[in-house]
């Protein structure tokens, strides 16, 4: 197959993949399904046009130079990673322009382009060295340093680095083999020094062995000054116009010195062809794989950074916000900055769910966004991880590609809430974030998770009329650790004076608290004595206690009322949760 055909095939795969990816930006969504793909394309076109012809275009330009070109967000996260990124990105782009596409690009700028002449000979190595150094830093950072705060590396992280490394290493190796190759030298002399006599050709070869690193089986130094002088003369006549000293290609030349002892093995057209094909094909593999790998951030991240410089959730068209979220998913480079700064990441050491780590959630978000059906178990696993988020914004603040992660989590949680899996954490202050963004959620969807969670708990304990079947030993222990022998102290000391109930602000907020809350605080204390678990765990009071500790503070008998309510809520949540997960496992 001709090379050009291969290039076109790789390019076609790359372009088709890119087109597919871009189409998902408009087809997939997290949360709201209100907009069709065509609505979203129209909204995006309108938004882009409106922005270009407004003052906000200045923000886009600013973001392009600062965030995209100079990577200002990355340098704030890690100067070392910034250096690595600039080296790899800069070096590779320049190699692409000057070397891979050199035939087209260089004539536009230079009249006498020869890859074997300076500055091109030197520059190609210099750009290559940039990439090598950058990759070395990245490999060190990801695989050698083993910082426990870093998220685990995925196969894609490895492939990406591997592809870049093979491209560069095969290129350097090919060039160094060419430097040592005597057959390549003789091919060249046949073409450009055909008229020379044999003695002169031998002198030329000696000169190249001495100065250009050629390894010749018949010729080896030290050479006489006369011979070198004759070789130099022939060199000036036939070669010097097109060949700068090989030492300028410092990496290729350096490697060629290392392989000198085995150079004769690699001599011959076959080895050079092999290396060439490896180099050429791996570049094509990279090109075809690009839209499906994290290198796709090359395309998506600049758009994401620029879009986020002019978009916000209150002012922008909701259709465009939905589109932007999917674009953001494609922009993630799995660098782990979010996980390093997550206030909850350390919980991962106790609860080994990958979904706790923000950097690891992106993959599950893509599944959620595509609308694929999820098993109850998968939904639970994802939900459990997402719930371990206090919405502290740290991830969003540090993301080098400017992904609004906080909004992604919010949308994902709402998408999961639609799936009817009870989420017991909505009964905790974690819900405050959701409550503050109530306006963005449709009314029935807003109330559903709260009532689902409460119903799940009530159902769980509905059959607990009979006092014998109450706590497991672990639950007994949990109640005890919440205070010291809470149940005993409640039982022993409380005489229903109602001071707790009279002090309770939740009770006071209702016209008819008995009906609104099912049990009042002093009744909970009595119900604990009587072991009326179905009443306690079904009561609204249990989940609506604020934890303000007024009841406990004012209790004349020093009953730890609030601590007891919290301990009961813990038992209610953990038991219900355990049984939901058990049922989920049974459905498998």
């Amino acid at each position: 197959m001709p090379k050009a055909t291969m290039v076109y095939i790789a390019l076609l795969i790359g372009l088709a993949g890119t087109a597919y990816k871009v189409s998902t930006w408009f087809r997939y969504s997290l949360g709201s399904k209100k907009f069709t793909a065509s609505d979203r394309v129209v909204a995006a076109a309108k938004g882009i046009l409106q922005t270009i012809f407004s003052q906000r275009f200045a923000s886009i330009l600013r973001s392009f130079f600062l965030d995209v070109i100079l990577q200002a967000k990355l340098i704030r996260v890690s100067p070392l990673r910034w250096i690595a990124h600039i080296l790899v990105f800069g070096g590779f782009t320049l190699l692409l322009l000057m070397h891979a596409l050199g035939v087209y690009v260089n004539p536009l700028f230079f009249s006498n382009y020869y890859s074997t002449l300076n500055p091109f000979l030197f520059l190609r190595n210099f750009f290559g060295a940039m990439v090598v150094l950058g990759l070395a830093i990245q490999i060190y950072n990801r695989f050698i340093r083993r910082d426990p705060a870093n998220p685990p590396s995925t196969a894609m992280d490895l492939y990406t680095i591997l592809i870049f490394a093979i491209v560069i290493v095969s290129g350097i190796f090919l060039e160094s083999v060419k430097i040592t190759s005597v057959s390549a030298f003789r091919d060249m002399t046949e073409e450009y020094a055909a008229g020379e006599e044999d003695a002169s050709l031998k002198a030329l070869e000696a000169y190249w062995v001495e100065n250009y690193g050629v390894v010749s089986p018949g010729l080896s130094g030290p050479f006489s000054p006369q011979m070198l002088a004759a070789g130099k003369a022939a060199h000036k006549a036939s070669c010097a116009q097109c060949h700068a000293p090989a030492q300028w290609a410092f990496m290729d030349y350096g490697v060629s010195r290392l392989i000198t002892p085995v150079a004769s093995w690699f001599d011959g057209a076959a080895a050079r062809a092999w290396l060439y094909w490896i180099h050429f094909l791996i570049c094509l593999v990279g090109l075809a794989y690009l839209p499906f790998s994290k290198v796709f951030h090359l395309i998506s991240a600049p758009i994401c950074l620029m879009a986020n410089s002019v978009m916000d959730r209150l002012g922008s068209d909701p259709a465009n916000l939905a589109t932007k979220q999917i674009l953001e998913l494609d922009s993630c480079t799995h660098c782990g900055a979010c996980t390093r700064n997550c206030t909850m990441a350390f919980v991962h050491s106790v609860m080994p769910s990958q979904m706790i780590l923000p950097s690891e959630r992106i993959a599950s978000l893509k599944v959620l966004a595509s609308g694929k059906p999820l098993s109850l178990r998968d939904s639970l696993v994802i939900q459990e991880g997402y719930n371990q988020c206090t919405n502290c914004t740290q991830c969003t603040l540090v993301c080098p590609v400017g992904i609004n992660l906080q909004d992604l989590w919010f949308s994902a949680r709402e998408t999961l809430a639609e799936r009817d899996v009870p989420n017991l954490l909505v009964l905790s202050p974690i819900s405050i974030y959701r409550g503050l963004r109530k306006d963005e959620i449709e009314v029935p969807a807003y109330a559903k998770p709260i009532s689902n969670a409460r119903r799940a708990i009530a159902d769980e304990f509905g059959s607990f009329h009979w006092p014998g079947a109450a706590y497991s030993p672990q639950e007994e222990k949990m109640l005890d650790t919440a205070g010291i022998n809470l149940r005993q102290s409640a039982g022993a000391a409380c005489f229903s004076c109602m001071t707790c109930t009279n002090a309770c602000p939740v009770v006071k907020a209702h016209q008819n608290p008995g009906a609104a809350l099912d049990l009042l605080p002093h009744q909970i204390m009595q119900a604990v004595k009587l072991r009326l678990w179905d009443l306690i765990f079904g009561s609204k009071m249990l989940v609506e206690c604020l934890g303000c500790y007024q009841c406990q503070e004012y209790c004349p008998m020093k009953v730890p009322t609030a601590d007891l309510i919290f301990a009961l809520r813990n038992v209610a949540v953990s038991r219900t949760y355990r049984n939901i997960s058990q049922k989920a496992l049974e459905t498998l």
């Binding site: 426990p148 700064n341 206030t343 909850m344 990441a345 350390f346 919980v347 050491s349 106790v350 206090t390 919405n391 502290c392 914004t393 740290q394 906080q406 017991l424 954490l425 909505v426 009964l427 905790s428 202050p429 974690i430 819900s431 405050i432 974030y433 959701r434 409550g435 503050l436 109530k438 709260i450 949990m478 650790t481 919440a482 010291i484 602000p505 939740v506 006071k508 907020a509 209702h510 989940v543 609506e544 206690c545 604020l546 934890g547 303000c548 500790y549 007024q550 406990q552 503070e553 609030a562 601590d563 919290f566 301990a567 809520r569 813990n570 949540v573 953990s574």
Partner: protein, 296 residues
């Protein structure tokens, strides 16, 4: 003892400006508090649903404090009360103590009970102290009537927190009076703001905020000042959400104690995160005489 800032999730998520305001205020007062990363959530949201997780989270923060040899300083009453309570429980419960240390050992940390958490209010009362503050604040907020909102966890459970009297607290009021303002007494001073119920039962949450805001108005306060970003968040949000019953009715605006001190120190609205916050006329007039005028 050196001091480090303990960041609060709520303040950094919704009230990011409050945290930067706190840094500016302590700088201006000459109290050295460092910024360190690596802390996790205090554990407050987990107390009612996963008790061990709550203890572990607070325990880890205390272990970090211990390792650094610095006291944690927070501007949030909930973080403060939560960590103090976990500390108290860990000191009594051997099995939880072992559980926490077993996990912390993996990252080379240990909880032994030497870590300390302090509320910024507590720190400022100690250094520069009331006389020191009075000297620095020039008392120019005089005439302003302020209602102080301590926040539940600043006061209760009092045997754990032990910051001030749970029945008639006065330390925060003293701090406010150092600015020259007058701390008024109001009937709902010790009540909860209702924020923990946001997202669980919004109607009750709003009713509690309304009760408090009504009480502040009846006390003829010009301003409510909170020691907790949760309360501040709740009052600011309620102020936007509550409809006024009649004409001439109004809702008293609120600030955090950090912002009040910032204004008294002559910091402008942008550095205190007060853009778009409407303030009482007296404070406006006062603030406008400063370098950066406040918007109406």
């Amino acid at each position: 003892m050196s001091l480090v800032f303990f960041p609060c999730c709520v303040s950094s998520s919704f009230m990011g400006d409050c945290e930067s305001a706190a840094r500016k205020v302590v700088d201006k007062l000459g109290v050295p508090i460092q910024d360190v990363s690596g802390f996790n959530c205090c554990g407050y949201p987990y107390k009612g649903i996963d008790f061990k997780a709550f203890i572990l989270m607070s325990g880890r923060n205390l272990a970090l404090s211990e390792k650094m040899g610095s006291d944690l300083v927070t501007t949030c009453a909930c973080c403060y009360g939560t960590i103090k309570q976990a500390d108290n429980i860990l000191k009594q419960d051997v099995s939880l103590f072992d559980y926490v240390n077993g996990i912390l050992k993996r990252e080379g940390l240990a909880y032994s009970g030497k870590g300390v958490v302090k509320h910024l209010l507590e720190v400022l009362l100690d250094n520069p102290g009331i006389p020191g503050l009075k000297a620095k604040l020039d008392g120019s907020l005089s005439g302003m009537k302020v209602a102080t909102q301590y926040g539940c966890k600043m006061l209760r459970p009092s045997d754990v927190v032990a910051f001030d009297s749970p029945l008639s607290p006065g330390k925060f009021d003293e701090l406010v009076e150092a600015t020259g303002a007058e701390a008024v007494s109001w009937t709902q001073k010790l009540e909860c703001c209702g924020a923990p119920l946001i997202g669980v039962n919004d109607a009750t949450a709003m009713q509690l905020a309304k009760n408090k805001l009504d009480s502040v108005r009846e006390a003829r306060a010009d301003l409510m000042v909170t020691a907790c970003p949760f309360c501040y968040l709740q009052f600011r949000r309620s102020r936007d959400a509550l409809s006024l019953a009649s004409e001439g009715d109004f809702i008293v605006p609120s600030l955090t104690f950090v912002q009040l001190l910032g204004l008294a120190l002559g910091l402008g609205e942008t550095s205190l995160g007060l853009q778009g916050v409407s303030l009482p006329a007296g404070l406006m007039k006062y603030a406008q005489s400063r370098e950066v005028p406040l918007r109406a």
